[in-house]
C-alpha cells in the first residue's frame, strides 16, 4: 500500500493547484517543497520591513484562478484580496516622454491618438481581435490538456475561433503588431509583452501580442504580496486534508518497470505513491530526477532538444520615499528594434544589456502595507544571459546594481540612489540556487511555437507511467494564469486515470 495517492514535487502554482484539486477529490496528497514557502516564482519574502516579490508582479486573466476556486467549491475572494490595477503601465522613453495606458480602452485610444490617429483607429481593431483571441480562442484552452493532434482538433471543434486565429501562431509577434500599428512609438509601447514568455518580438509567437489588449480586461495585485495567491490555494489544500512538507528536496523520482512509484528526498526518505506529479522544470525532471538510463532513447532526445527559458536578474529596492512613477508597472524602453537587439546582440553574445529596457514594478503603489509607513518597494526586472562573456554573476552583483541604477538615471531620468534603504540583487545564479530552476530559467522551457501545445512535454508522461507534469514546462507555458490552468488540466487527467 503506497504512503500517498499523489506526491507533488514543488509547491509552485502548477503544483499547489493540482494538489488542491486532488485533495478536494479525496486523494491523500503530499506536496514536497524544497524551500520554506509556497509559490515558487509567484512568491514574496520580507527583508528590513519590506515585502518583496520574488518574480511575478501582476495577475492577468484572473478568471483562471476563479475557475480553480470554483472547482474547489470555494470563492476566490474568501482567500485572496485582489486589488485592481489602473493604469496598466506607465511608460518612460529615452527621449524623456512619459505617458500611461489606463485600463479603459477608450482612454488608451486617446493616448494613442497623440502618437498616430491611424493607430488609434487600429487600436479598436486590435482590441476586437484581442478580445476574441484571448477570450474565445487561446484562453479557452488554458485549463485543458493539449497533448496530441486530436486534443487540439477537439479543442478547435469546441472553440472554432481557434482556427480563425491560427495565423497568429504562424506569424511572429513583431509582424502581428506591425500588421495593426504603423507608429514606431506605439509598436514599441506594446513590445514588452513578448518577453512575458521570454522571447524577443522577432521570435515570439504572434498571438502573445494580444496580451497588450487582454490586460485591458483587468489586471490585479493580491493584497499582501504575490505569495497571497499560492497561500490562498494552499489554505484550501490543507482544509481538504492535504499535506505540505517544506525544506523537502526531491532528489529522485522512484521508477520501477517504467512506472513512477514515489520519490526519494535529499535526506534519504523514500515516499511511495500511486502517482507522482512534477511541478519542476521538465528537463531537470527527466534528465536528473529520473535519469537518462530509465528513459527510452526517443525521450532523452526529445527532452534534450528543448532550450530552457531566459533568466531575469532582479533588483529589489526599499525606498524611504515614493518613487517618481505613475503606475504599478513602468516600462522603460527605447524602440522595438532595441527589444530585438537585446536578444540578438547581447543575450546571444552573453553580454549584460547596457541600454535595453527595464520593467519596474511598484507594489506599494497598490498595497502600501508592504513597506513601513511612507516607504516603498520597487522591483527592477530585465533579461540577461546566465553565462557571461566577462565575469561571473556572483562577483559582479554590486557592479550590476550600480550599472542599472546609473542607466535608469541617465536614460530615463529616474533618480533612486539617494533614497535606497535596502537593495537586493537576485541574479540568474541566485534564482537557480533558490528555486532549482536550471540556468535561472524564468518560464520553464523556452516558449517557441515549436515548443508549445503538443510540442511541449505532456501533462501525462508517455515515457514514464503514473507520472504527471504541471507548471511552466507544460502547455500553456509560464505565467500565473497558465500555470494555475496547468494544475487544473493535469489534476483532471489524474482523476480520470486513477
Amino acid at each position: 500500500m503506497p504512503d500517498y495517492d499523489a506526491v507533488v514535487i514543488g509547491a509552485g502554482l502548477g503544483g499547489i493547484s493540482a494538489a488542491s484539486i486532488l485533495a478536494k477529490n479525496g486523494l491523500k496528497t503530499l506536496v514536497c517543497e524544497n524551500t520554506g514557502r509556497v509559490g515558487g516564482c509567484c512568491s514574496s519574502f520580507e527583508e528590513g520591513g519590506y515585502t518583496f516579490d520574488i518574480g511575478a508582479s501582476i495577475v492577468e486573466l484572473s478568471w483562471v484562478i476563479d475557475e480553480l476556486f470554483e472547482k474547489l467549491g470555494k470563492k476566490t475572494s474568501d482567500y485572496i484580496d485582489f486589488i485592481p490595477i489602473d493604469p496598466i503601465y506607465g511608460f518612460m522613453t529615452a527621449d524623456g516622454k512619459r505617458f500611461s495606458y489606463p485600463v479603459d480602452k477608450d482612454a488608451t485610444k486617446k493616448v494613442i491618438t497623440e502618437f498616430s490617429a491611424e493607430d488609434a483607429e487600429a487600436w479598436d481593431r486590435f482590441a476586437k481581435h484581442g478580445s476574441e483571441a484571448i477570450n474565445f480562442a487561446f484562453g479557452k484552452v488554458m485549463t485543458k490538456p493539449m497533448m496530441t493532434f486530436s486534443d487540439s482538433l477537439m479543442l478547435s471543434i469546441e472553440n472554432p475561433k481557434l482556427i480563425k486565429y491560427l495565423k497568429y501562431m504562424i506569424l511572429n509577434f513583431e509582424s502581428t503588431l506591425c500588421s495593426f500599428f504603423t507608429s514606431d512609438k506605439v509598436r514599441a509601447s506594446m513590445s514588452l509583452q513578448s518577453y512575458f514568455i521570454g522571447l524577443p518580438p522577432a521570435l515570439c509567437p504572434g498571438y502573445i501580442a494580444f496580451l497588450a489588449y487582454s490586460e485591458h480586461e483587468g489586471i490585479f495585485y493580491p493584497r499582501g504580496g504575490m505569495i497571497e495567491i499560492p497561500k490562498g490555494i494552499a489554505k484550501v489544500f490543507e482544509e481538504y486534508g492535504g499535506e505540505i512538507r517544506f525544506n523537502a528536496r526531491v532528489d529522485k523520482v522512484l521508477v520501477e518497470n517504467g512506472k513512477a512509484i514515489g520519490v526519494k528526498l535529499s535526506d534519504g526518505t523514500e515516499i511511495t505513491s500511486r502517482v507522482v506529479v512534477s511541478n519542476i522544470n521538465a528537463k531537470t525532471l527527466y534528465l536528473e530526477k529520473i535519469g537518462r538510463e530509465k528513459l527510452p532513447r526517443w525521450a532523452v532526445k526529445a527532452i534534450e532538444s528543448y532550450d530552457v527559458s531566459i533568466p531575469a536578474p532582479m533588483i529589489m529596492l526599499g525606498l524611504d520615499t515614493a518613487p517618481e512613477l505613475d503606475a504599478h508597472h513602468t516600462f522603460c524602453y527605447t524602440t522595438l528594434e532595441e527589444m530585438n537587439r537585446v536578444w540578438f546582440e547581447d543575450y546571444l553574445s552573453k553580454k549584460i544589456p547596457k541600454r535595453g529596457f527595464m520593467l519596474i514594478s511598484w507594489p506599494t503603489h497598490a498595497d502600501p502595507s508592504l513597506a513601513p509607513e511612507g516607504h516603498h518597494c520597487l522591483n527592477l526586472v530585465t533579461f540577461a544571459p546566465y553565462e557571461l562573456s566577462e565575469g561571473d554573476w556572483d562577483t559582479i552583483k554590486e557592479q550590476y546594481l550600480e550599472m542599472q541604477l546609473d542607466s535608469m538615471e541617465k536614460m530615463f531620468g529616474l533618480k533612486l540612489k539617494d533614497h535606497i534603504t535596502v537593495a537586493k540583487v537576485s541574479t540568474p545564479k541566485d534564482f537557480e540556487r533558490a528555486l532549482l530552476h536550471p540556468r535561472g530559467a524564468v518560464y520553464g522551457l523556452q516558449n517557441d511555437i515549436v515548443a508549445t501545445a503538443f510540442f511541449r512535454p505532456r501533462m501525462r508522461s508517455r515515457a514514464i507511467k503514473n507520472l504527471y507534469l504541471t507548471g511552466a514546462s507544460t502547455h500553456f507555458g509560464g505565467g500565473v494564469a497558465p500555470t494555475v490552468g496547468s494544475g487544473i488540466a493535469a489534476s483532471g487527467l489524474i482523476l480520470k486515470d486513477i
Binding site: 496530441t148 506569424l171 511572429n172 513583431e174 509582424s175 506591425c178 518580438p201 522577432a202 521570435l203 527527466y286 526517443w298 525521450a299 532526445k301 526529445a302 527532452i303 532538444s305 528543448y306 530585438n340 540578438f344 517557441d448 511555437i449 515549436v450 515548443a451 503538443f454 510540442f455 511541449r456 512535454p457 505532456r458 508522461s461 508517455r462 515515457a463
Partner: protein
C-alpha cells in the same frame, strides 16, 4: 500521377521559397529560428 505530385511538390517549394525571399527581415529570422528545431518535432510530440 507521381509526375503530377512531383510537379506540385516542386511548385509548392518554389512558392514557399519566393514567399520567404519576399518576407521581412523579422519573418526570416523567425523562420530560421524555428527551422533549426523542426528536426526535433517528432520526438517532442511524444514526450
Amino acid at each position: 500521377m507521381s509526375k503530377v505530385r512531383k510537379t506540385a511538390g516542386v511548385l509548392l517549394l518554389v512558392a514557399l521559397l519566393v514567399a520567404y525571399m519576399r518576407s521581412s527581415e523579422s519573418t526570416k529570422r523567425y523562420v530560421k529560428h524555428l527551422l533549426k528545431q523542426v528536426q526535433y518535432l517528432p520526438y517532442r510530440y511524444f514526450i
